[in-house]
Symmetry: C2
């Protein structure tokens, strides 16, 4: 089958067995790859109410049709599982090249279930799949562990691993792969840890055949020119270039746990400063001429270099914690990578505890005598260590903002900045209404890669204030991100294909897979996948609309100062946007997909589960 | 079934019989109404290669779910048939209130086939359907004939009729209904004439029940406020307000048979002049607060008043013929209404003959000694009489531009301004690239109500020049117009619902019919209908892409002067847009719907016909 490796690999760590299934054409056309494959497999493989950290949960590692094809960003890998942080649907996507090598080895997807009795790693060499002891890697950093394995088995292996945070089941432990790229969100590193799985290595000798190599070559050539022009700022500065823009122009840089959205010291941690003072070199994903990755050096501890921080890490570890020292951010970023911690959830969890401390909701004693004030580099770096090791108060922090607020109680839930349990990213739902609805309906929770902020950043302030058309805008964006995450292409690259599903997507799919789709069939593919992710959440949580909300602070406090002073989103506005969104999707007024729509999308298998919850919701 | 009358009436004029069929829910959900019902019924009822003027052709008169519901413009009626002008798919839509009354009588659609042995009219009174002799109406004007029938049977009857042009089988004879509203395009009046059918009258005593009357009331209230604000210029001036805008700002007013696109004397026939000097009063469709219709008086012959001219008539009879006298246009418009002639095809056919005469391609002798120069009011009015009566050169003109150019020969085809045989409307495909692709792929041909010009008029000149995104834009517009023509709502009203399919359409459909659709299901409905219309054309003509083109002049001559000087569209640009369009639709590279897409849309019954033509096209 063109564009695909053709097989799915199933591994059982409890049984130490593996089997392979042939990829079916109808399945591929209906779900494409990436999150699409993940959504279908997760719904089938995980029994309702499975504990995310139990052997019965699965970790799905998946490529898409574009993976391994010589196209920009075609090495990105998607991980799908039930999240220990949100207890619901989670996918997270990392740069690098793992998915490409997985396909070279013959697999579109790897499904890992069970739990090894002792630490193991998986080594895949085309047909040869081994589950090997990995006692010597346990406790090692995520980047370090990969280095050791490459030294032992050869540099041709591509790898991903967890660090101590994953081993210690930190609820937002991440997966680090292809060196230092992170699949950050939702605690999928803890899922690996719960399975005693430290690392996966893959090497393949095959090629990915595509449907129309000549046509593809031409398409790629045209596209490469466009992308290098359009993304020049990412080549020069990487994502940190956004810091000044979002702070100064849009006034939407979450600051001191979103008490404000303008950070007066943002200039000090801006992309320009990182480039000028800390930059060593660029890094790039498989096949990508943009090379948005940046390696930075701490000037305080010159032996510390890090691949990052990205914009999101600068926001979460920086402005959200009131930190204005770039050296601290580089060091914190490196720690997070080696420990295998999601920088966003780490930063926002620390910001939350800082606000709790300043408001007197948690005592110094309960904080292991740490004076957790906003702005302290020392506090930040110390707490990161504690979280990864689950040491003292680190064990509380390791549970994430939602669970912490439940434990600390009082009014702390009002400023727990998460959606569905996932800490929100650095694009303001008070400034951008499309992000407000985007976060609220994101199946993952507070992710900035289901909704996307770009289209609304381009609007004038008066347009931003309105909710008219924002639900529709977010719906179109959701189709687009879902497709990008299925193909799999990076969203920056996808943006050059066009900011909504269009003929370029169709061409690319046709050239690679030979699937001759109309735009309507393609829209249905994306809509099907997102709806199925939603079904998974509803099946697991037995609620729908109740979870489609935003942090209390976002809904009840206006931005107090800066360029977006007075901006906000009310519960009424959110409700109106939700109603429109459900209507567009063919979900009922409680946000549960209707039987008719499920049938239309070929998701008949979810009807019974949905009707069960529907009955309760009436 | 909510929102529908529930029955389809089949009439056979040869047999003088009628039968009724129950409307099926699945059919209604898949095709909605209007052109949707028309597309399915036409494909089934008309055998391949049927002569459009033979008894075997059918005339389909159809309402949609909105017809007869107290909503703006909910009286519009759609006629569908195989066109004698284009030999392909045709639908034409008139304002007024006929469709509302048809539903009150119990019918969503009336399908008329056969041919009466002598002139007849049809009289429908709820269940009571009569085919009555109409000898005394034959030869009467289309408006006059309706008056006579209302005087005889009562004013409660709503009616439509043909004039002498339809009786004389003028290829672009139109249908005139609810007084003076025209279903103008494509010669459906000739289809009536060929059946010896002069008039149809309907009276009903039922009500249209809707799914959610309370919700609808609220929706309607909100919407009415919006519409009256947004369409205030149409209330004040009607469509003639466009004349100055399109001439002065956009430089795209087809002038002297599109040799130019700026008419220096446009000001004299502008909406402002008509309002100031000729206006008597407004007219409105059933349920519409906008009342865009205008009754104007000729100052030269004050006994002549006309409902119109609309913008399109001012373009076709005015600038295209070089005529700058508003009195002439009011008189010509009134003649066309009474004769039952499409003003666009009439004007452009005359403009064509004027250019032929000025270029020496047709002699004065062959023109019955008329010096057919641009700008002569006398020539225009005389030729209209001759066309309707098929008198002398009128018989040539009555065949339309395409057939005339075939008869006159030489280079005349280069300036025959039609697509698929249908004369193009007054929105320039050289100024607006979305109209270029819009006309080229319109199933009817040169209609301005499949593609729509509005979105591109709003763009800056530099944006207008580009073809990027125009195919996609036209595709989205096509979905939108197809839906409007299925519901049926007027496109001005639909524009207030939103400029592309959105949640307002979903709400309206849900409130009226109870169909709980997602936006994707709705998009498929529109895509299904347009694709089926396309299939009809391909089945009849056995070609696809070959007909998706524009007049030679448009593709090879640039606009010579005015605000859009130098604008044009090349064959290469059109080709590129076509390729994109086919891709979006799921049509193959020759523009034939693929088997997969037909199956996906539930159009399996057309697969064999399409494959037959596909084989030839390879």
């Amino acid at each position: 089958m063109k564009g695909y490796a053709g097989k799915i690999l199933y591994l059982d760590l409890s049984e130490k067995t593996s089997k392979q299934k042939k990829l079916k054409k109808k399945f591929a056309r209906n779900y494409l790859g990436g999150v699409g494959f993940g959504a279908k497999i997760l719904y089938e493989e995980v029994k309702p109410k499975t504990d995310p950290l139990s052997p019965d949960n699965v970790l799905i590692v998946t490529a898409g049709p574009i993976s391994g094809v010589p196209f920009m960003g075609a090495g990105r890998t998607t991980f799908v599982s039930k999240s220990p942080l949100t207890d619901g649907w989670m996918h997270s996507n990392m740069g690098g090249s793992f998915a490409a090598h997985m396909k070279f080895a013959g697999y579109d997807t790897i499904v890992i279930k069970g739990k090894a009795s002792e630490p193991v790693m998986i080594k895949i060499d085309d047909e040869n799949v081994e589950i090997l002891p990995a006692e010597e890697l346990w406790g090692k950093g995520a980047i370090e562990a990969q280095k050791i394995v490459k030294e032992k088995y050869g540099k041709q292996y591509d790898t991903f691993a967890i660090g101590p945070a994953g081993e210690n089941l930190v609820k937002y432990a991440c997966i680090i792969g292809s060196g230092a790229r992170a699949a950050g969100r939702g605690g999928l590193g803890a899922v690996m840890g719960s399975k005693n799985l430290k690392l996966v290595a893959v090497k393949g000798s095959k090629k990915v055949e595509i449907a129309d190599p000549e046509g593809f070559k031409e398409f790629r050539k045209e596209f490469t020119e466009k992308i290098t022009k359009k993304l020049v700022n990412y080549t020069l500065y990487g994502t940190p270039i956004l810091v000044n823009l979002i702070n100064e122009i849009h006034g939407g840089l979450g600051t001191r746990n979103w008490q404000e959205e303008t950070f007066n010291d943002a200039e000090k941690i801006s992309g320009e400063v990182f480039k000028e003072k800390h930059f060593i070199r660029n890094t790039a994903c498989f096949g990508c001429p943009v090379a948005c990755g940046k390696i930075f050096r701490s000037l305080r501890n010159p032996e510390v270099t890090s691949e990052g921080p990205e914009y999101e890490s600068i926001y979460a570890l920086g402005s959200a914690c009131g930190i204005d020292d770039p050296n601290t951010l580089i060091e914190a970023d490196k720690k997070c990578d080696e420990y295998g911690l999601d920088t966003i959830s780490t930063g926002i969890s620390i910001a939350f505890i800082m606000e709790c401390y300043e408001k007197g909701l948690i005592s110094k004693k309960d904080l292991d005598s740490i004076e957790a004030r906003f702005g302290s580099s020392e506090v930040l770096l110390t707490l990161i260590d504690k979280i990864a090791k689950r040491e003292g108060v680190g064990s509380l922090l390791a549970e994430g903002t939602k669970r912490m607020s439940e434990k600390i109680g009082k009014d702390s839930w009002k400023f727990a900045i998460h959606v569905r349990g996932l800490e929100i990213a650095g694009h303001s739902p008070r400034v951008l209404k499309s992000m407000a609805i985007g976060y609220a309906v994101s199946n993952r929770g507070g992710s900035h890669h289901d909704g996307r902020p770009g289209p609304e950043y381009a609007m004038q302030p008066e347009e931003k204030k309105k909710i008219d058309g924002k639900s529709r805008l977010n719906y179109e964006i959701n189709l687009w991100t879902t497709l990008g995450d299925s193909l799999i292409v990076c969203h920056f690259v996808e943006n050059v294909l066009g900011s909504s599903l269009n003929e370029n997507h169709l061409k690319l799919i046709r050239l690679v897979t030979g699937f001759d789709m109309s735009i309507e069939e393609l829209r249905d593919v994306a809509h099907r996948i997102y709806t199925l992710e939603r079904c998974f959440n509803i099946r697991e949580k037995e609620v729908a609309r109740e979870e489609d909300t935003l942090p209390w602070r976002i809904l009840h406090e206006r931005i107090p100062n800066g360029p977006a002073k007075g901006f906000g989103v009310t519960p009424e506005e959110l409700n109106e946007m939700l109603e429109e969104y459900y209507l567009l999707r063919g979900w009922d007024k409680n946000g549960i997909p209707t039987e008719k729509e499920l049938r239309r999308l070929g998701l008949d298998f979810a009807i019974e589960d949905m009707n069960k919850v529907r009955k309760k919701s009436v």
